[in-house]
């Protein structure tokens, strides 16, 4: 970790000296040949580098999907790592083109921080994790506990509200990254680790003995996590919005990375044909190639594939689809039509 004050200062200076990219993000990205994605510093299953330095994960796959749509190449990405605290400044200072980083859509981020949000790629809520040995079975029993939280997140605000409204006290142990929080939690600096439930599952999966820890039943907030871009570039906003929608629509229509070629040539469904660029000119209207969505599905897969591959029940993270099932299966994932 670098000296954060210098980080923050440098970013502020960037706002002062550089001229922030305004319209034309698409042209910039295409000229550069690489898509810069703001991602986290590392959360198992969501965004993490392997030994070779290649990034993987649920959020990273959406970054790759964006690169596939814009550049035709899911590998043409650069991960710009950010802590909870630096992510928006990095985006606003033009260091990243788009943010895919466990980020909750809130009023103040949309209106105050001036971000553009483009839908929800993971419906989440804040939970609590404690060691089993503590014998706690409900968050209501946490009065007086020490709680590890990540700074610059919605987590710390929800926590303050939750304890305040339940008349409980706690010691806030404020930490910068998920990894440091994990270390402090395991060392016993805090009794409880609280963050998005998905993040808890991801963090728990990295423990030597995951079964020694339980996630408490209370979910104390709504955390709709989704991608963000800067204000002022409508074309780019549209692209990110429809990249996400394309993955969901593909799942709704049964288009997968395995059958996408077949579907493009032989589907009878006009919406599938429009989506895959076999009919109409939606790609051109976005400023992209006709096969932009085809490239996404072919290389990264549809929403369900991305989910199951990275964080699904058959991975160490083991998350059920839950709220993130398609609306037709009782979940909330629902794409506006490609029409």
């Amino acid at each position: 970790m670098k000296a954060t004050i210098h980080n923050a200062l440098a970013l502020t200076l960037m706002l002062a000296l550089a001229s922030v990219a305004r319209a034309g993000t698409l042209e910039d990205v295409q000229a550069r040949g690489v898509l810069n994605c703001v991602v986290s510093t590392g959360v198992a299953g969501f965004a993490y580098p392997d030994d070779a330095g290649e990034w993987h994960g649920f959020d990273v796959d959406f970054c790759r999907a964006t690169a596939a749509a814009v550049l035709g190449d899911p590998k043409a990405i650069k991960a710009v790592t950010s802590t909870g605290k630096t992510r928006f400044t990095l985006l606003n200072a033009g260091e990243g083109d788009v943010l895919w980083r466990n980020t909750t859509i809130t009023f103040s981020r949309d209106v105050g921080v001036k971000l553009r949000f483009h839908g929800v790629n993971y419906y989440d809520g804040q939970g609590f994790m404690v060691p089993k040995a503590l014998g706690v079975s409900s968050a209501k029993e946490l009065d007086g506990a020490s709680v590890c939280i990540q700074t610059g997140t919605t987590t710390e605000l929800n926590l303050a509200d939750y304890f305040h409204s339940n008349g409980m006290k706690y010691e806030a142990v404020t930490i910068e990254t998920n990894d440091e929080a994990r270390q402090n939690y395991l060392a016993g600096r805090c009794d409880v680790y609280t963050t998005d439930a998905s993040g808890l599952a991801a963090t728990r999966s990295t423990f030597t003995n995951p079964d020694d820890h339980v996630v408490l039943p209370e979910i104390i907030s709504k955390e709709p996590l989704g991608p963000a871009t800067r204000h002022g570039d409508d074309q780019w906003s549209d692209i990110v919005t429809w990249v996400l929608n394309a993955t969901v629509t593909a799942e709704e229509k049964g288009v997968t990375s395995a059958n996408v070629d077949e579907m493009r040539s032989s589907s009878k469904d006009p919406e599938v044909l429009r989506l895959l660029g076999a009919e109409g000119n939606q790609g051109a209207e976005l400023g992209l190639e006709a096969d932009w969505a085809y490239n996404i599905i072919k290389s990264v897969g549809n929403y369900g594939e991305i989910f199951e591959r990275n964080i699904g029940v058959n991975t160490p993270i083991g998350l059920a689809r839950g709220l993130n099932a398609l609306w037709t299966d009782g979940g909330l994932q629902y794409s506006p039509p490609f029409r």
């Binding site: 706002l15 550089a18 007086g144 506990a145 610059g152 806030a172 910068e176 016993g188 002022g232």
Partner: protein, 396 residues
């Protein structure tokens, strides 16, 4: 080039030819460039903020901060207080660790500097190795190291090390009894102040006697006796108006008493011993710079080594030590911004961290942070300049 007589050249060339006016012109030009750059930066800020649709305003300072700061020893802060109050908490926390750090670093630094000159080979080497190791590892690592040691090697609260049932050591911090002042303790405090004044008066008187007659009183012990004795008598006479709030394990944590949390402890200790190592070298250099003849002269007059150090060497060394000491104090203060690495809630972590993030006011919050550090630095410099002047050679 053929020499043209000065009076035949143009006005500008003539002004340029004059060394004094030339330097004025250069200065004006430099200022113009600086201001032009500044204007450019400000314009850029305005344009960039406008481009992302943000306005420059400090209004957010009056909105509720909505986050908790557990470590707030001076202000009773809750998440319902404003960003402004949160900033104040951060400023006081920065100030606390800076003041404690400067005090500890000075004591430790002077001690190590003197030990470094010790004729005892072992002592000398041990200090030397410690200094070299410490100075060559970045201070951030020291902070993380101390924090890591406290958090991972000490036992959790339930198995805390019990020091006689009154104080406890755990990985959540050190807990000690805190004094509770009861009725009448104000009088004791007043007696204490009066005793201090009396002791100071005695010291002046003793000094005059020494100058006039050569008689030396053991000022230190007598002063201690005056202050300690008077306060103790008042304390007992008023029926010991003081009780202790003992820390006790309640639920997850110790409640009550005085708590030294791992974050404060780690930051304070690491900044102190790291800076102390630099101070030690400054002190050593300062002492070595005092000519050995001074020491020989003092010995010839019959002064003992301790007195020599105290009366002859240190006062002269101090004049050499103080100026570089200032920059060490400034470094310590600025290094305290590394607090966030371990979650100590200083000015950078509060207004420059959480508030920045929650409101998206990068420019405004960073300006506040910069301003605060600037003021701290100027204050330290001003104080040290004053101190430096007060220890200058006085012409008699």
């Amino acid at each position: 080039m053929a020499a043209v007589p000065i009076e035949d050249r143009g006005l500008l060339a003539r002004l340029w030819g004059n060394q004094e006016t030339r330097s004025v012109i250069v200065q004006i030009a430099t200022m113009a460039i600086v201001f032009a750059l500044l204007a450019l930066v400000l314009r850029n800020v305005a344009i960039n903020l406008e481009a992302i649709g943000k306005e420059f305003s400090f209004d957010f300072l009056t909105a509720p901060a909505a986050y908790d700061i557990t470590f707030s020893p001076f202000i009773d802060y809750t998440s319902r207080d404003t960003h402004f109050t949160a900033a104040a908490v951060g400023i006081l926390n920065t100030l606390l660790v800076a003041v404690c750090g400067i005090a500890a670093a000075s004591v430790l630094g002077v001690t190590m500097g003197i030990l470094r000159l010790s004729r005892n080979w072992l002592v000398n080497r041990i200090v030397y190795v410690f200094l070299e190791f410490t100075r060559n590892v970045p201070v951030l690592l020291h902070i993380l190291l101390v924090h890591g040691i406290v958090v991972t090697t000490l036992p959790p609260p339930r198995r805390a090390i019990d020091l006689g049932g009154t104080a406890f050591v755990s990985n959540r911090g050190f807990f000690a009894p805190s004094p509770v002042f009861e009725e009448g303790s104000g009088i004791v405090a007043a007696v204490f102040v009066i005793a201090v004044v009396a002791a100071l008066a005695f010291r002046r008187w003793a000094k005059r006697v020494q100058v006039e007659t050569g008689k030396i009183y053991s000022v230190f012990w007598i002063c201690t006796a005056i202050i300690g004795g008077a306060t103790a008598v008042a304390f007992l006479a008023l029926g010991a108006p003081l009780s202790w709030d003992l820390p006790a394990l309640k639920g997850f944590n110790f409640q009550g008493g005085l708590a030294l949390r791992p974050e404060f402890l780690a930051l304070w200790l690491a900044l102190s011993y790291y800076t102390a190592c630099f101070i030690a070298e400054i002190v050593r250099a300062g002492i070595l710079a005092v000519s050995h003849g001074q020491t020989e002269a003092a010995y010839a007059l019959g002064l003992r080594p301790n007195r020599n150090l105290q009366l002859v060497v240190l006062p002269q060394a101090l004049r050499i030590i103080v100026p570089p000491l200032v920059s060490q104090y400034l470094n310590l203060t600025k290094n305290s911004s590394l607090a966030i690495a371990i979650g100590y809630m200083d000015i950078v972590a509060t207004i420059g961290g959480i508030s920045l993030m929650q409101t998206g006011k990068e420019m405004e919050t960073m300006l506040i942070v910069l301003g605060v550090y600037l003021v701290f630095s100027l204050l330290i410099s001003a104080f040290m300049n004053w101190f430096n002047r007060s220890i200058r050679y006085k012409e008699r």
